[in-house]
Amino acid sequence: MSFGPHLFLAVLEGLVTSAVLALTALGLSLVFGVMRVVNVAHGEFFMLGAVSAWFISTALGGHPAIGFVAALIISPLLVGALALLSERLVLRRLNYNPEATIVATIGMLYIIQQAALTFYGPEARPVEPPFNLRVLFPWFGYSGYKLSIIVASILLMLGTWFVLTRTRIGLIMRATQFDSETAQAFGIPVDRVYAGVFALGAMLAAIAAVLIVPIQQAHYLMGLDPLLMSFIVVIIGGLGSLRGTVVAAVLVGLSDGIISVFFSPTLAKMLATLLVAMVLVFRPQGLFGERQR
């Protein structure tokens, strides 16, 4: 294959990564932005989404699409419920103190990882894609399912944007993010908003995981990479900036795809991680974020 088509393939792969990454990072960014909590267990919520998708699709059997659609609905609900529970039991009791919540979410990370290892096992297991379709380009055929991930992600991002900017729920969330004390004084139930945002963040990660599990098998250690990549995206994009998150996810996903195809995946991860650490060092507010008050 000559250079042009090779690059095109790399761009497609990169866009699929971007799509999943944008959803995962958006969850982290919301929790980070609204609650000022760094959720180190975010990657494990992602992993739980993928693992529960395998359980659901295996239990249902029949046509792969049935299991997949069921997983797409049930997995996020399960993960969201678990996030809600941990928020009530742990994070709220810590008064959302930044350092204490970091330690607590590290604890959650280990507990969830161990639970997955115990009940699911160390194997990586595949989920069948809901449909098998090859989109034929002049140079190669490409998985139609992968393209549909990109479409699904765009739709979900548009939905989130709509909720955040055009609805009352979004207004309440933005008010809480801007100044939680004043919001509380105006009768906004801040602790319920926090619980909701934490669950929503986890659900976004779970949806992203269900979308990716047909092309990347479910494994109990799969959470760390999305966590670090989401940190990267959230930092490059700037805190709580939806536009920044999307642009950064596309940038990171594309560079990851292109470097992975032409050089090596390890090198791609190294460069991306190093780049972000440098962004955070020299431009702490991110590319699109506003300087923190």
């Binding site: 742990v90 590290i106 670090l228 190294m270 991680t273 190093l274 955070l280 060092v281």
Partner: protein, 318 residues
């Protein structure tokens, strides 16, 4: 007895007990204690930054790995002796501490945690990427004949359990006393002042950045000493020691023993090592124990064992 004398006496007694223990301990626990002492050095280095300066780093595995690989690679590829290899490990730790400190200290709070975690991940990936030299995840084992020291005509074989225990104890004792001296010095007081209120410390005329930078370098060097000792005493060098999990373990040990106490990291390491050791006897679910311990500690026992004892009874505890 003055408070200073009491503090020094207590720490010397602990070292003395550890010295005597080697004659009475059964073989298995003898080996465990040697390992715990080396890992406690890692925890003490971590505590200097986390406990006394209040900087939460999730990247200290990279300093441990700097020592581990600084010592291991020079023995494996350049045929260094034990002493120069240990020195190479220390140097690698100090240099990486300086570079990372200069960069990461430009950020504060949560951003500091994320930046250190990312630099550590880059280090981990770099170790995997340079698999030709480091053998990546599998790591490599230092050959037994290489691991002996000639000190003033005395041939010490580090693969011998008694020598190994003694070397671990020596490193532990030196680190413990150095830490005690550092935190009781005026430099240590400045670090605590920065932890409590950085703005005020700056207004009093202290250069917060320079003091924090020195703290990072010292902390990194201590952690690298633990890494180098681990490579030379136990003979195994592998990428798992640079993983995120290895950055989190010292945090757990320090939290359990009591952050900002000199002996706390050792207590935490000892206790946690045995908890994991005992539980892994009848279940493989040790990650669950680690996770639960972190959450319960931060919820109900934020001062740790020694921190609580200090707050309740022994006010003079350093």
């Amino acid at each position: 007895m003055s408070r200073t004398a009491a503090a020094w006496a207590l720490h010397l007694v602990v070292i003395g007990i550890l010295f005597l223990l080697q004659f009475v301990l059964p073989e298995y626990h003898h080996g465990v204690l040697a390992r715990v002492m080396v890992l406690a050095v890692f925890a003490m280095g971590y505590n200097l930054l986390f406990g006394y300066v209040g900087l939460l780093s999730l990247g200290h595995a990279m300093f441990f790995a700097a020592g581990l690989y600084g010592a291991g690679l020079t023995v494996e590829h350049f045929g260094f002796g034990m002493v120069p290899a240990f020195g190479a490990g220390l140097a690698a730790g100090a240099v990486s501490g300086l570079v990372i400190g200069l960069l990461a200290l430009r950020t504060t709070g949560v951003a500091f945690m994320i930046v250190t975690m990312m630099f550590a991940q880059v280090t981990y990936l770099a170790i995997l990427y340079c698999a030709e030299w480091t053998r990546g995840d599998d790591g490599f084992v230092l050959a037994q004949p290489l691991r002996s020291v000639n000190l003033a005509g005395l041939q010490l074989d580090l693969t011998n359990p008694a020598t190994r225990y003694f070397a671990a104890l020596a490193l532990f004792a030196v680190t413990l006393l150095v830490t005690l001296a550092v935190v009781r010095s005026s430099f240590g007081r400045v670090l605590v002042a920065i932890r409590e209120n950085e703005e005020r410390a700056r207004m009093l005329g202290y250069d917060a950045f320079a003091n924090k930078l020195v703290a990072v370098v010292v902390s990194a060097t201590i952690c690298a000493a633990a890494g180098a000792a681990y490579a030379l005493l136990f003979g195994y060098v592998g990428a798992s020691f640079a993983s995120v999990q290895y950055s989190i373990l010292p945090l757990l040990w320090v939290l359990l023993g009591g952050a900002a106490t000199v002996l706390g990291p050792f207590l935490g390491t000892l206790f946690m090592y045995y908890v994991v050791d005992v539980t892994s006897g009848f279940t493989s679910a040790y990650l669950f124990i680690v996770g639960l311990a972190l959450i319960l500690l931060v919820l109900f026992f934020p001062a740790g064992v020694l921190g609580t004892i200090r707050a309740r009874w022994l006010r003079w505890l350093p």
